[in-house]
């Protein structure tokens, strides 16, 4: 049970490369906290700094108000689950789980009791005397979990624990993990590159890019009110549509249609947008088939879209179409960071819209689509800042 405070933590390597730049946030006691970001964003480095496997270059790491920058990993009482599981192959499952207790010289009966409890919790009881080599991936993963929970540590640190499992098992283990954490109530810091995992598991999420924390917030805050372009593009699946835009008075000129902004949004933007390159962000679900708009009073605009691909998934219907408009360089860079593929030619933007499943849109035909003007987000293309952000507080990181 502990609160972990990261006070401007920085990691600089000998060659001057900064893997983590001033990470500054607090993980509350008992919280399930997620570090998420594309590969190479410094999230694993940050986790290793918390657990003590990487030195801290500057800043302070505090657990329950005690600075632990220079405390040896063995004395931090944190348990870690590795992506590779890192189970000791020469020990049985029982010995693996008991290892931390044996090192701590816990009495034998106590060890046996706690190992049995952990094994039961993770449904490993019948495998206790087997060697890891005979276990399946999911079972090995649970052994690694067992070794962590048996210690009753101050915090769990997990480094992409599910990414080596196949898709189906990963979804199952995700639920198992969430339940386990709720039941034990132990502070957990969890690293992943998968935004779905981050959104579903996390009480709060920190999004990282190139060593910098972009935004810290609940999954809802990140989704509805992203601090910047990167968070907007990273969170959500399918991703938010990002289009070049121009602001003319209260009107946003998008490649396919001009949008009249509602007064409150115009107010929020103020004059910050003047003379700036802008990028508009629209989530797929804020489009609708014009014929099927539920609320006739909702402010919106309609336009014709040349649908080229339709994805029908029973409960959901996605339509894809392309519009003209040269993308700003920031969008390119973003796509690189987000590891999106198939961006297409530079002078086109591809859009995904989520429609009512009753829509009669057909591939290869123009369909009248409706766009909710209240939900259009505007970003400064150069700094990435969300100009339409509801929260008055400035972005955690001022651009990149």
């Amino acid at each position: 049970m502990s609160e972990i405070v990261l006070d401007k933590l920085t990691k600089r390597y000998g060659d001057g490369y900064e893997a983590v730049k001033g990470a500054d946030f607090t993980v509350a006691d008992g919280e399930f906290f997620i570090l998420v970001g594309p590969s190479g964003c410094g999230k694993s480095t940050l986790l290793n700094m918390i657990v003590g496997l990487e030195d801290i270059t500057s800043g302070e790491l505090r657990v329950d108000d005690e600075v632990i920058n220079d405390v040896d990993p063995k004395d931090r009482n944190m348990a870690m689950v590795f992506q590779s599981y890192a189970i000791y192959p020469h020990m049985t499952v029982r010995d693996n789980i008991a290892f931390p207790l044996k090192i701590k010289k816990v009495p034998k009966e106590e060890i046996a009791k706690r190992v049995d409890e952990a094994a039961e919790l993770l449904e490993l009881t019948e495998h206790l005397d087997r060697k890891p080599v005979h276990l399946s991936g999911g079972q090995r993963q649970r052994v690694a979990m067992g070794r962590a929970i048996v210690r009753e540590p101050a915090a769990f640190l997990m480094d992409e624990p599910l990414s080596n499992l196949d898709a189906k098992l990963r979804v199952q283990m995700r639920t198992v993990l969430a339940r386990l954490q709720q039941r034990l109530g132990t502070t957990t810091v969890y690293v992943t590159h998968d935004q779905t995992e981050a959104m579903t598991l996390g009480d709060r999420v920190a999004v990282m890019r190139r060593g910098e924390v972009q935004q810290v917030g609940t999954p809802k805050e990140l989704y509805n009110d992203p601090a910047n372009l990167f968070v907007a593009g990273f969170i959500g699946s399918p991703a938010m549509n990002l289009l070049p835009a121009e602001l003319d008075g209260g009107t946003v000129k998008l490649p396919m249609v001009d949008v009249e902004l509602p007064a409150d949004i115009r107010e929020r933007i103020g004059d910050r947008a003047s003379g700036r390159h802008l990028i508009a962000g629209i989530r797929p679900e804020h489009f609708e088939d014009a014929a099927l708009v539920g609320d006739p009073d909702a402010p919106g605009v309609t336009f014709k879209a040349p649908i080229d691909v339709i994805e029908w998934m029973g409960a959901e219907l996605y339509v894809h179409f392309t519009v003209e408009g040269s993308a700003h360089e920031e969008l390119r860079e973003l796509a690189e960071d987000l590891e999106t593929v198939g961006l297409g030619p530079t002078d086109e933007a591809q859009i995904v819209a989520r429609l009512d499943i009753h829509s009669e849109a057909k591939e290869g035909q123009d369909t009248e689509l409706w766009l909710d003007t209240r939900k259009v987000l505007l970003f400064d293309a150069d700094s990435g800042e969300n100009l339409t952000r509801e929260a008055a507080a400035p972005a955690t990181a001022d651009g990149s």
């Binding site: 890192a86 000791y88 210690r151």
Partner: protein
């Protein structure tokens, strides 16, 4: 691991060639040994009868050598010196190899290439100076006087072998052990060393064989029964008269010193199986 992979599809011709090859190799390797054994079992008057098996085998030669106090001393010296050299070399090599694999330190390349250079060095080139140095240091004709050169010449090989094995062990295991509350040494002893066991046994055998078989150092740096090992002692065997070449005794002694090596290899061969680390991480 993958050694049996190619046996799946084997044509009759393949099988024949394989069998032939195997027979040639086995015969080539075993004939001198069988010869040695047969020689050691021959009575003195039949040594030169030119037959492989001359009938009426006798243990006389074995009785003779074990009656000879020189041989018994030499055997004790051989076993003691080889074992101590092996243990010291392997323990030192383990620490060195682990540090080389896991740590970044200035001069790491130098240590590795220096070790290799020592392994390449012709031992005979240092015998002369060593002889004088050892006499000055009172190491001449002592166990330590042999153990030190044996270690020196086998450490490089042991370090290279062991670092190859350590490199195969996922670093996450060290880290996991550290997070689990182990000191660096505990992590090494309880997690890494057991996993490197095949490498340890491989190096141990190599070191032991080197020390056990060495004649050069043993003959040059010893002068009495205090430290003379079996290969050197055999050279001092004498027949019943100065015109009598003690072939039978030499053969018997050679058979006796071969046995420990065979036993060693048979014991450790079972342990030298790679793949002990499989299952540590998702494979």
């Amino acid at each position: 691991m993958a050694t049996t992979g190619s046996t799946a599809k084997r044509t009759p011709v393949d099988s024949f060639v394989w069998a032939l090859g195997t027979i040639v190799v086995v015969v080539y390797a075993l004939v001198p040994i069988v010869w040695l054994v047969s020689l050691s079992l021959k009575p003195a008057d039949k040594l030169n009868d030119g037959k492989f098996f001359s009938g009426s085998p006798t243990m006389e030669n074995y009785r003779t050598i074990f009656k000879d106090p020189q041989f018994k001393h030499a055997l004790v010296n051989s076993i003691g010196i080889a074992l101590i050299a092996t243990v010291l070399a392997v323990v030192l090599a383990m620490f060195a190899a682990y540090a080389i694999v896991r740590l970044e330190f200035p001069g790491k390349k130098l240590v590795l290439s220096g070790a290799l250079a020592i392994a390449m060095f012709p031992p005979v080139a240092i015998i002369g100076p060593l002889f004088n140095m050892w006499r000055a240091l009172h190491l001449f004709d002592t166990w330590a006087g042999l153990i030190i050169p044996y270690m020196t010449f086998t450490l490089p090989l042991a370090i290279w072998t062991l670092s190859a094995f350590f490199r195969e062990i996922p670093w996450d295991l060290d880290k996991a052990a550290r997070v689990d509350g182990a000191t660096p040494f505990q992590a090494f002893r309880q997690v890494i060393a057991p996993l490197a066991a095949p490498g340890v046994f491989t190096s141990a055998i190599l070191v032991f064989i080197f020390a056990w078989n060495d004649f050069l150092f043993a003959a040059s740096l010893t002068s009495t029964n205090r430290a003379r090992t079996v290969p050197a002692a055999i050279a001092f065997f004498t027949g019943s008269s100065q015109f009598d070449f003690p072939a039978g005794s030499i053969a018997a002694a050679s058979v006796v010193v071969t046995i420990p090596i065979i036993v060693m290899v048979l014991i450790f061969q079972r342990r030298i199986v790679a793949g002990l680390t499989s299952g540590a991480v998702k494979g």
